[in-house]
C-alpha cells in the first residue's frame, strides 16, 4: 500500500494576521506557521491504513518555500516514511496551477491512495485535491468522515446536509479528510528526533500565476462593542426590536 499525503504549511489559526505594506500579502515575521489542521487527519489516516495493512509507505508531499521542510518534518515525526518538497517561492491563488504541479509529481508514482485535508485554512479554496483527481483521472471523494479499504476498493462516508452519504470507489483514488475522520496522534518525542534522519527530497518547481493575481487584502471590519439591552424576560421585546431594526437579521 503506497499512500501519498499532500500537506501545506499555513499560519496558525490563533495568529493575528497583519497585512503587508503592499496590501496584497501578509506579514510573515512573528507569525507562527503550522501544518494545516485538516492535513493532520489525512496523515493520521494514512498512518493507520499502513499500520493496518502491515506494510506500505506513506509519503508526505508539500509545495512551497524552503520553510515547508519543517512542515514535512512534522509529518515525518508523526510517522510518515519520507517527504518530498516541491520547492518554489512563488504563490498562486489559482488552485489549478497548484494542482498541476502536484499532479505531475503524483502521476505514475504508483500511489494506491492520495490524501489531502479537505481544505487549507489559509486560502480555504477547497479545490486542489479535487482538481488533482481530475487531472489524474482518478475517482475522488471530498470531506470524508470515515474510510474503509478492501480488495482494491474504498468506501467513504461524508457528511451532507441532514445525513451521511456513503460512496464506494475503486483504487487508486483521491480523498480529502474532514475533521472527525480520526484522532490525529501527537508525534512521539523519539519520532521527532528520527524525523531528521528520514529522506526528504527537494525538487525545484515552476509555478505560474494561473492568470489570477491578488489585488488587495483587507481585514474584516472591527466588530463594534456589544450592548446589553436589558435583563431577563423583560428584555426580549427590546432585543427583537434591535435585531430587526439595527442588525436587520429578522
Amino acid at each position: 500500500m503506497k499512500i501519498a499525503v499532500c500537506i501545506k504549511r499555513v499560519p496558525d489559526t490563533e495568529t493575528r494576521i497583519k497585512i503587508g505594506a503592499d496590501g496584497k500579502s501578509i506579514v510573515e515575521d512573528g507569525v507562527k506557521f503550522v501544518l494545516n489542521p485538516y492535513d493532520e487527519y489525512a496523515i493520521e489516516e494514512a498512518l493507520q491504513l499502513k499500520e493496518k495493512s502491515g506494510d506500505g509507505e506513506v509519503v508526505a508531499i508539500a509545495m512551497g518555500s524552503a520553510a515547508s521542510q519543517e512542515t514535512i518534518r512534522g509529518a515525518l515525526a508523526m510517522g510518515a516514511d519520507r517527504g518530498i518538497l516541491l520547492q518554489t517561492d512563488a504563490v498562486s491563488v489559482n488552485p489549478v496551477t497548484v494542482a498541476k504541479v502536484l499532479a505531475a509529481e503524483l502521476d505514475g508514482a504508483g500511489y494506491d491512495l492520495i490524501l489531502f485535508g479537505k481544505y487549507a485554512v489559509d486560502d480555504s479554496s477547497q479545490a486542489v485535491g479535487t482538481i488533482v483527481s481530475e487531472l489524474l483521472s482518478l475517482p475522488s471523494v471530498s470531506a470524508i468522515g470515515h474510510l474503509e479499504l478492501a480488495d482494491g476498493k474504498g468506501t467513504a462516508e461524508r457528511e451532507i446536509e441532514g445525513g451521511v452519504e456513503v460512496v464506494e470507489f475503486s483504487l487508486p483514488a483521491v480523498v480529502t479528510a474532514d475533521k472527525g475522520l480520526n484522532e490525529p496522534r501527537y508525534p512521539a518525542l523519539r519520532g521527532i528526533m528520527m524525523a531528521k534522519k528520514k529522506p526528504l527530497e527537494v525538487k525545484p518547481v515552476e509555478l505560474g500565476d494561473g492568470g489570477m493575481t491578488v489585488i488587495q487584502l483587507a481585514l474584516p471590519p472591527e466588530r463594534p462593542e456589544g450592548r446589553i439591552v436589558g435583563e431577563g424576560p423583560d428584555a426580549v421585546p427590546a432585543l427583537i426590536e434591535a435585531l430587526r431594526t439595527e442588525a436587520k437579521v429578522l
Partner: protein, 392 residues
C-alpha cells in the same frame, strides 16, 4: 486560547528545530490533556493518573536516557523544555515526570546492573511501572547523610528498616528506589540504593493528608519494616551519599526549567487579565502599577530562560557542575514564586479562584521552593563553591 509562552529576547533562536518541535508538541499536549482537568484534580487532591499512559506514549519518562532502554534519547535542553511545559500545566505533573525519570530511572541507569536496567527501564519508560525515590526521612531532609534507615546484609540478601517521608508517587509506585545505610549509623559512605518492589512484605505507604500545595500530586510516607530483599536488589554502583545527591542534581536540573514553565503560565494569565480587566474606565494594564509588575515578570522570566539554556548546553557538554544547578534551581524557583504571587495580586479577588492558575502555581511553588534542596541550602552550596568554606 492555546498557550503562547514568552520569548521577549528571541531565546528560541538558541534552540534547534527539533528542540522547538519537542517543546511545541508537549505544549500542545498540555493544552489538550492537562489544562481541562488540572484544577479539578487539584481541588480533589489527587494526581490525574489517566495522563500516565499518554505521557509514556509521548516518551516523556526518562526522555534523556538512551533509546536501547526504551527511552527517547533526547539531549538535556529538550529534556528541560519538556519539564518546562509540564510545569506550565502543574508542578504536580512535572514532579511525577521528574521522579519517574530523574530519581528512579536515572539511578537504575547510572548505578544499576545491566540486568536491573533491562528489567526496569523499559517498564518505567512505558508507564507500566511507576516509581518513587526514598531518601528524605522525617528528621533528615536537608541533612540526608543523617538518615536512620538501615540495610543489613544477610546470607541470602538484605533486610531494610526505616521510614521515609515526603515521597512523591509513594502510594502509587510499583517500585521504590530506597537509600539506606549498610554500615554504622554514622557512616555516610555506607549509603547505598536498593530497588524495592512495593509489594514486598513489610513495605507500606501512607498518603500524607492535609496538603495545601502540590494537591494534584501523591505525597506519601514510606515505612519499611523488616523488608527482605534478594542480594541483587542493591544498585551495585551506588556508593555513599554522593549517589543519591547525583540523582538530585538531575531532578534539580529539571526543576530549574519547570519553574520557568509555571512562571510563564502565570505571566500569560497576568497579561491577559491586565488587558481585559477594566477599572476606572480603562484596562488595568494601562496603569503604571500593573505595567511595573509585568515588566518585572518579563525581565525575571527572560533571565531564567537564559540560565536554563546555558545550563542545558553545559550539561550536554558534560561540564555542568552541581553548584551551577543550585544557582539555577534557587533563582528560577524563587522568581517563579514571585511571578505567581504578583499575578495572584494583579488578578485581585479573581486571583484566589481555582478557575485561574496563579494561586495554584503559587501554592505549588512554595513546595518546590523547599523540596529538592531548599532555597537556603542552595544558597550555602553556592557560598561554599565561591569561598571554599562550608557553612552548613
Amino acid at each position: 486560547m492555546p498557550f503562547q509562552g514568552l520569548d521577549f529576547l528571541d531565546v528560541d533562536s538558541l534552540l534547534s528545530e527539533e528542540e522547538k518541535a519537542i517543546r511545541d508538541t508537549v505544549r500542545r499536549w498540555v493544552d489538550d490533556a492537562v489544562m481541562p482537568i488540572i484544577a479539578e484534580h487539584y481541588l480533589d487532591g489527587n494526581f490525574p493518573m489517566g495522563l500516565v499512559p499518554q505521557m509514556a506514549e509521548l516518551g516523556l519518562f526518562g526522555a534523556n536516557l538512551p533509546e536501547e532502554y526504551g527511552c527517547a534519547g533526547l539531549n538535556n535542553v529538550a529534556y528541560g523544555l519538556i519539564m518546562q511545559e509540564l510545569e506550565r500545566g502543574d508542578s504536580g505533573v512535572r514532579s511525577f515526570a521528574s521522579v519517574q525519570g530523574a530519581l528512579v530511572m536515572y539511578p537504575i541507569y547510572a548505578f544499576g546492573s545491566e540486568e536491573q536496567k533491562r528489567a526496569w527501564l523499559p517498564r518505567l519508560a512505558s508507564g507500566e511501572a511507576v516509581g518513587c525515590f526514598g531518601l528524605t526521612e522525617p528528621d533528615y531532609g536537608s541533612d540526608p547523610g543523617g538518615m536512620l534507615t538501615t540495610a543489613r546484609e544477610t546470607d541470602d540478601g538484605w533486610v531494610l528498616n526505616g521510614t521515609k517521608m515526603w515521597i512523591t508517587n509513594g502510594s502509587t509506585a510499583h517500585v521504590a528506589v530506597v537509600w539506606a545505610k549498610t554500615g554504622d549509623i554514622g557512616d555516610q559512605a555506607s549509603i547505598r540504593g536498593f530497588i524495592v518492589p512495593t509489594d514486598t512484605k513489610g513495605f507500606s505507604a501512607k498518603d500524607q493528608k492535609g496538603k495545601l500545595s502540590l494537591r494534584a500530586s501523591d505525597t506519601s510516607e514510606l515505612v519499611l519494616q523488616d523488608v527482605h530483599l534478594p542480594a541483587d536488589a542493591v544498585l551495585p554502583k551506588s556508593k555513599g551519599l554522593k549517589s543519591p545527591l547525583m540523582c538530585l542534581t538531575q531532578a534539580r536540573y529539571g526543576i530549574a526549567w519547570g519553574a520557568v514553565g509555571s512562571a510563564m503560565a502565570c505571566y500569560e494569565e497576568a497579561v491577559s487579565y491586565a488587558k481585559s480587566r477594566v477599572a476606572f474606565k480603562r484596562p488595568i494594564g494601562a496603569t503604571q502599577l500593573q505595567q511595573a509588575r509585568l515588566a518585572e515578570m518579563v525581565t525575571e522570566i527572560t533571565k531564567a530562560q537564559l540560565l536554563c539554556v546555558q545550563l542545558g548546553r553545559l550539561k550536554d557538554a558534560g561540564t555542568m557542575r552541581p553548584e551551577q544547578v543550585s544557582l539555577a534551581k534557587r533563582n528560577n524557583v524563587n522568581i517563579a514564586t514571585e511571578v505567581a504571587r504578583e499575578t495572584r495580586r494583579l488578578l485581585g479577588a479573581n486571583g484566589i479562584l481555582a478557575e485561574y492558575q496563579a494561586m495554584r502555581h503559587l501554592a505549588n511553588l512554595e513546595s518546590v521552593y523547599t523540596y529538592e534542596g531548599t532555597h537556603d541550602i542552595h544558597t550555602l552550596v553556592i557560598g561554599q563553591a565561591v569561598t571554599g568554606l562550608s557553612a552548613f
